[in-house]
């Protein structure tokens, strides 16, 4: 019995050890990863972000080097907090919280302690960093803007948030990522691929040799350059014209769907969101809830389209064969469509036909042909849905599918919408209840880009390409089917001729005759759109929005655009003038009508915008 003790002890020990070793080495896989974390250092090589050019090859956005101070918390040895804080231009408290945050993110992975130093700060720091174990400087590239415009198109780049790091494993703390605009939309194209080298290192943090002969290393891949469809000159001019106004301009090349300009006002200088000043400036822009400079009105603002919508109303009526081109309609300053209900109209020659109806923007004419369109069918429900189908084929009520990250669908009501609104079948509703749609003042809501796209479809007599902002990636023209497939409207080609004639006559004798562009046959349509705001919970009407759509030249159109100027009153007053100048600028490169230009540049609407905030009673539509 006594002899057994050593045998029992040894056998038990061997058994215990083998089990424990089996568990440590075979069962528990976590040590492999930990071991790699401890002994392998990754050195990243961030490639240059792709450049952004305009359609003519003019450089809009380049790069400049920037330097982040990073720290790996586990490797940080004791150091003089005060000294480092003053080197980094941080308060000692701030430095401490940054380090604590880094611990929470990961003790083993690098976190940014202070981002985006300038080259000069870097040179000074570089000589002194070796004293601080666990800290190092990571080179990255920041944006360098060649232009002061297009901020909302371009977007900006910023450090990835914690959320994005866990969602998408590609990003790490301190990585930069595109936000908004093409920077966000084409992030993966622009950023390229980060390269990484693995080194075995020792406990003193020295690199010993490449890990596994560099088996896991990758070479960085430079980001691709983008050529946008934007015409930088036209864009700059558009933003200049919109100074002191709010609204948007969208200019499209009808033959390709390429967006030539996408102006939203007010905007900001893209350089404000570069480097260390980014977060302060961003906060300022973000909290400007009155002007909303980060809000892309050209894509996101929804307005009642107003009179330009009449062109579409006319097209649908022709397609549905409910009106003859020569048919005369009388207008006695309005149209009474139900007992005691009347749609007003302004003073113009009467009677009108289709062409003159557009030229004079006669409410009565379009109200009647719209009513006929809806009433052609047995029920107003059916009528509305047919009408909606036609309108939808112009890209209204839909996101359009363009390549920018923000947008609104707008509103194109269908029978369900009115059934709900009028509580059908408890109550009946008829075409007359939706009559305001005829003149773009009903339930229909559109964004400027939708209206510009519809204008391009009219210019093309029945088709369009989805608007897009990308022209070439690394000199390779885009082949994306989405942007190279013709979208055809439901309206037959021949019906466009009278509408286009009417839009041309708008400039000949109609509502925009003083806006003619010398030597160019322009077609367009003015509009005003009633709008309301809430002041102290009360619905208050504001000065109408000024709206204009146009394309030119009449035959072989090169440019189609939509302009919205908030509270600009008459369509021809602000939006029309701006449209006319934009067309002249794009097609002739020179502005001959300097008086017109001066008027726009010297007139702002800031007084108008201040009215609702003044706290005093005010007048509108002056």
């Amino acid at each position: 019995m006594r002899k057994l003790l050593p045998i029992i002890l040894v056998s038990f020990t061997a058994f215990l050890f083998l089990i424990r070793l089996f568990y440590l080495q075979i069962m528990d896989d976590s040590y492999d990863e930990v071991s790699t974390n401890i002994s392998v250092r990754k050195v990243y090589d961030y490639p240059q972000r792709g450049y952004i050019y305009d359609r003519n090859g003019e450089l809009m956005v380049g790069n400049q080097p920037a330097y982040d101070v990073m720290a790996v918390p586990l490797e940080v040895k004791e150091f003089d907090t005060l000294e480092l804080a003053s080197l980094l231009k941080l308060t000692p408290d701030r430095l401490k919280t940054q380090l604590e945050r880094a611990w929470r993110y990961s003790p083993r992975l690098a976190s940014v302690i202070t981002p985006q130093l300038t080259k000069k700060e870097y040179a000074y720091l570089q000589e002194r960093m070796h004293k601080y174990q666990g800290f190092y400087i990571q080179k990255r590239s920041l944006r360098d803007y060649n232009v002061e415009h297009s901020a909302n198109i371009l977007g900006y780049i910023a450090e990835v948030g914690q959320g994005e790091i866990s969602e998408k494993s590609y990003y790490q703390s301190g990585d930069l990522k595109g936000k908004q605009g093409v920077e966000e939309q084409y992030e993966e194209v622009l950023r390229g691929e980060r390269g990484v080298k693995h080194y075995l290192r020792d406990i003193h943090n020295k690199n010993i040799k490449p890990f596994k002969e560099g088996k896991f290393d990758t070479v960085s891949k430079k980001g691709s350059d983008l050529h946008l469809t934007i015409d930088a000159k036209l864009q700059a001019y558009g933003e200049k014209l919109m100074k002191g106004k709010r609204g948007g301009i969208v200019v499209i090349e009808p033959s390709t769907g390429e967006i030539l300009s996408l102006v939203t006002a007010p905007s900001y200088d893209p350089d404000l969101l570069v480097g260390r000043k980014r977060s302060r400036n961003f906060t300022e822009l973000y909290y400007d809830t009155i002007q909303k400079p980060l809000y892309n009105r050209a894509l996101q603002a929804i307005y009642a389209p107003g009179s330009p919508f009449k062109a579409l109303t006319g097209l649908v009526a022709l397609q549905e064969s409910v009106v003859d081109l020569e048919e005369n309609f009388r207008c006695n300053g309005g149209y009474s469509y139900a007992r005691g209900v009347r749609m007003g109209c302004h003073n113009h020659p009467s009677p009108v036909q289709m062409v003159t109806g557009i030229a004079h923007s006669c409410n009565s004419y379009f109200a009647q042909i719209y009513r006929r369109t809806i009433e052609k069918y047995n029920t107003p429900q059916k009528g509305i849905d047919v009408w909606r189908g036609h309108m939808a084929s112009f890209g209204l009520g839909d996101y359009l599918g363009y390549d920018l990250p923000v947008g609104r669908a707008g509103l194109l009501p269908d029978s369900d919408y009115y059934n709900r609104a009028y509580r059908y079948p408890t109550y009946q509703w008829y075409a007359s209840a939706t009559l305001s749609n005829a003149i773009g003042q009903g339930e229909v809501l559109t964004t400027p880009i939708q209206l510009a796209n519809a204008t391009a479809a009219i210019a093309n007599k029945g088709w369009f390409y989805r608007p897009h902002i990308i022209k070439k990636i690394d000199d390779e023209s885009i082949k994306e089917e989405k942007y190279t497939t013709k979208q055809v409207t439901t309206i037959d080609k021949e019906h466009f001729n009278p509408i286009i004639q009417g839009m041309h006559d708008v400039f000949n004798y109609g509502t925009a005759k003083f806006l003619r562009v010398p030597g160019i046959e322009v077609c367009g349509k003015t509009g005003t759109s009633e709008n309301y705001t809430k002041i102290d919970g009360e619905r208050v009407q504001l000065t109408d929005h000024s709206i204009f759509i146009a394309f030119a030249p009449k035959d072989d159109p090169k440019i189609a655009l939509a302009v919205f100027v908030e509270n600009g009153y008459w369509g021809s007053r602000y939006a029309g003038r701006i449209s006319s100048l934009m067309i002249e600028k794009y097609l002739k490169d020179e502005i001959e009508r300097t008086d017109l230009e001066r008027w726009i540049l010297s007139n702002t609407l800031e007084e108008e915008y201040a009215k609702p905030y003044s706290g005093e009673p005010f007048k509108i539509n002056q």
Binding site: R2, K3, L5, P6, I7, L9, V10, S11, T13, A14, L16, F17, L18, R20, L21, F22, L24, Q25, I26, D28, S30, Y31, D32, V34, S35, T36, I38, S39, V40, L74, L200, R201, D202, I203, H204, I208, F211
Partner: protein, 416 residues
């Protein structure tokens, strides 16, 4: 001498040679700087170890050449010298890392505690083999414990609690030679209560222990001992458990307490007190089935495990040779210990048997404590892995220990 060579147990020599060779390979891996340098470079740890191995072999040959009666005859003298060498440390010793455990000669140091084990084994064997002594008698027990206790106390004073712990190994030969069950039982019970109290705390341990005793009392129908014995055991257990908290908080030094806390997972300060164990576990754990290959372990080559060429050498095996390597080492040690057990049991002379048992037990306790520590089953105790860890004193101490026994074994027929 040639006759001795034929008679010694070559299997033991073979196992030890493999352990030393494999050990050196791992020492080289933890300390080499560039593969171009000579392995004989005496300024390098691996070079020195090679010298120790060579000299160790010479010492072995000298021992084999000695008359086998020499060891029994001079056991007491050797013991006296050993105790004096420990005492001398307090006058002439060199203090490294707070421990006065070395004699220093230029760039070389000798740690006498590594040799004292041989002396204690010899003295103990001589005392027990004396026909007048009987370990069932209290007086003999007391003297046997004194033989162990004097060097143990001196080593505790260095202070080197780890090396002192090894002397518990001598309980095994004492038990074999008739020490009452009581001591061993108390030993195991104490250890069990200690660990359980550490893990679960006094408040949880005490009631469970009490209930357990009652259950054993109620169901132990045959061979029923008296009730007061149960009461005494309960009292002892609960009392001891209660004192563990007190020991931990008031008796142990802070770094010793930390080591217990690390073991039971109370503290997870992987930058501080848990650093060694953590790095060691990571190195071993990342080895997988076959390891990362010799000289290719990223933890080893990054020198992340402190003291890896000495006390933590087993973690190199784990990382670079994987489960294959570690299990071979565990099996080799198990074979060695069982072989020594077999040799000890076949001795005709009680002196040889007690000595052989002591050799086996010392190697076993070293193996157990060192490996258990490195794989996180035992608190951090700084003792080497026999034949494996770097260190001349340790290597020579173990070689002398074993080779004396092999000599005795070779001559077993003429000894009795």
């Amino acid at each position: 001498m040639p006759k001795t060579l034929l008679q010694i147990d070559w299997l033991t020599i073979l196992i030890i040679a493999i352990l030393i060779g494999f050990g050196w390979g791992n020492i080289y891996s933890t300390t080499f700087v560039s593969p171009d340098e000579s392995i004989l470079d005496l300024s390098k740890i691996y070079g020195k170890q090679l010298l120790w191995i060579f000299l160790g072999a010479l010492i072995g040959i000298v021992i084999l050449a000695l008359e086998s009666k020499f060891f029994e005859r001079f056991a007491n003298v050797i013991y006296l010298f050993a105790v004096l060498s420990l005492l001398g440390l307090f006058a002439f010793g060199k203090t490294i890392a707070g421990q006065t455990a070395w004699y220093s000669f230029g760039s070389f140091s000798i740690q006498p505690a590594e040799f004292v084990k041989v002396a204690v084994a010899l003295a103990l064997a001589k005392y027990i083999s004396d026909l007048d002594n009987d370990l069932s008698r209290f007086k003999s027990q007391l003297i046997a414990f004194t033989i162990i206790g004097i060097p143990l106390a001196l080593i505790m004073l260095q202070p080197d609690a780890g090396s002192a712990l090894i002397y518990l190994a001598f309980l095994i030969p004492l038990y074999r030679e008739g020490l009452p069950h009581f001591y061993i039982s108390i030993g195991f019970l104490t250890a069990a209560i200690f660990i359980l109290t550490l893990k679960f705390g006094f408040t949880l341990f005490a009631p469970i222990f009490g209930v357990l005793i009652i259950i054993v009392y109620l169901f132990n129908k045959k061979n029923k001992p008296k009730l007061w014995k149960y009461a005494l055991i309960s009292l002892f257990g609960i009392g001891f458990s209660y004192s563990v908290n007190f020991i931990l908080n008031s008796v142990l030094l802070p770094h010793q307490k930390d080591r217990f806390d690390v073991l039971i997972g109370e503290t997870n300060d992987i930058k501080g007190s848990a650093f060694n164990l953590y790095q060691s576990e990571v190195a071993i754990g990342s080895g997988g089935w076959t390891g990362k290959g010799w000289l290719k372990g990223s933890q080893t080559q990054g020198r992340f495990v402190p003291e890896q060429h000495t006390d933590y050498i087993f973690s190199t095996v784990g990382e670079e040779w994987g489960f294959m390597g570690t299990s071979i080492v565990v099996i080799l040690f198990t074979l060695l210990i069982l072989r020594l057990f077999h040799l000890a049991e076949r001795q005709k002379s009680q002196f040889s048997r007690v000595y052989g048992y002591s050799v086996m037990s010392v190697i076993f306790v070293h193996f157990f404590v060192n490996v258990a520590m490195v794989i996180g089953l035992f608190p951090t105790v700084g003792i080497p892995l026999p034949f494996f860890s770097y260190g001349g004193s340790g290597l020579w101490g173990f070689l002398i220990l074993v080779i004396i026994f092999l000599k005795l074994d070779a001559k077993r027929k003429s000894l009795n």
